[in-house]
């Protein structure tokens, strides 16, 4: 496992947690290794293209190592900018992993360095995270079949909402003409990506994602929230 002898920045950030460093790295779509020398041991996290893709400690690899590192209360870290991960052992989106870490910390009842306020902030922030907030999703919108938008995120969320609502109306009219009922989903794909609109219990979730992304699964999970 690489030691805390790195080419980039190294030091401590009083008041910041390792979650903050991960979040900052992911939001800036960084590729880097973050070496951590903590009170529980030494470890290294690899961020690739804005996702946590690998972690190692002396005793664990993958998500187990990541959760071990996130459980350390204090320490120092160093950033090795541009370092590519040696392998990919973590496939979940980073928000999901941090959310689980926050839940684990709550279940442990263990006080963190950032104190109750920081923990409350993390939990509050995690509430807005979901499968649709990953960087592979270009945009999404959730709305009722009556047309009321409940939430969403997209460069032009109104455009996405309008398009999805129109496609649903067309599909339902088309289904009626062919004697088909109970529209469940509309999926489209092209060279630039995929768009999926999933209907469930009077709610529609439309997701636009890049090529190769299982947008149908994301929309399915989004509809279950």
């Amino acid at each position: 496992m690489p030691q805390l002898d790195v080419a980039g920045f190294a030091g401590t950030l009083p008041g910041a947690s390792i979650e903050d460093v991960i979040q900052m790295s992911c939001l800036t779509l960084a590729t880097r290794a973050i070496h951590v020398d903590g009170d529980g041991g030494e470890g290294v996290l690899y961020i690739g293209g804005g996702q946590v893709v690998h972690a190692e400690t002396r005793t664990a690899r993958g998500e187990a190592a990541l959760f071990e590192i996130l459980g350390w209360r204090q320490g120092r870290f160093g950033i090795d900018e541009g370092r590519q991960p040696p392998e990919e052992t973590i496939t979940r989106i980073w928000q999901s992993v941090l959310l689980e870490a926050a839940h684990r910390a709550d279940e442990d009842g263990r006080p963190r360095d950032d104190g109750p306020e920081g923990r409350a902030r993390a939990v509050e922030a995690s509430r807005s995270m979901g499968p649709l907030d990953g960087p592979e999703v270009k945009g999404w919108v959730r709305f009722t079949l009556q047309g009321e938008r409940t939430d969403g995120r997209a460069p032009d969320v109104e455009e996405l909402h309008s398009c999805a609502a129109y496609v649903i109306e067309l599909s339902q009219a088309l289904g009626r003409a062919l004697g088909l009922e109970a529209l469940a989903a509309v999926e489209a794909r092209g060279p630039a990506g995929r768009a999926v609109c999933r209907l469930k219990d009077g709610i529609a979730v439309a997701v636009v994602a890049g090529p190769g992304v299982d947008a149908a699964a994301l929309a399915e999970r989004g509809a279950e929230r």
Partner: protein, 144 residues
Amino acid sequence: MTSAAATLAGLRDVRGVEGSFLLLLPGGEVVTRDGLAVVTEASIADTSRRLSNMFQALESVCPGADEAVLRFEGLSLFARKNERVLLAVLAADTASMPALRMAANLVLRQLDGADLTPPAATEPSVPEPAAADVRRRFWRGSPV
């Protein structure tokens, strides 16, 4: 049976395919159809127009989209288009989508360069079903 219709019939080699139809873009005129005996010409024409509109609408969120799948209970409508035509296939939701995708690609390739003049609108190529048949429904891929 025209050559285009014969080409479409090959889609039924994929298990679960109920029938298909081919339309010209951008107007959505129906060129030919295969199977779907209980579906009226008017319904096919409406479906064609709506599919054409759907792909135009999808362009704003999924540029260059050339495939769409509309999933209904028991049945799916698979649509694939190129610059010239749009192929729509009605299939049971148990049909293999990769196999259907490949079969659709082959059909579009085989039709490349073919004369696809829509038939005259006076006489429908398939007899209109009785009024009771128009309301027939599918359940799990089979007419009920």
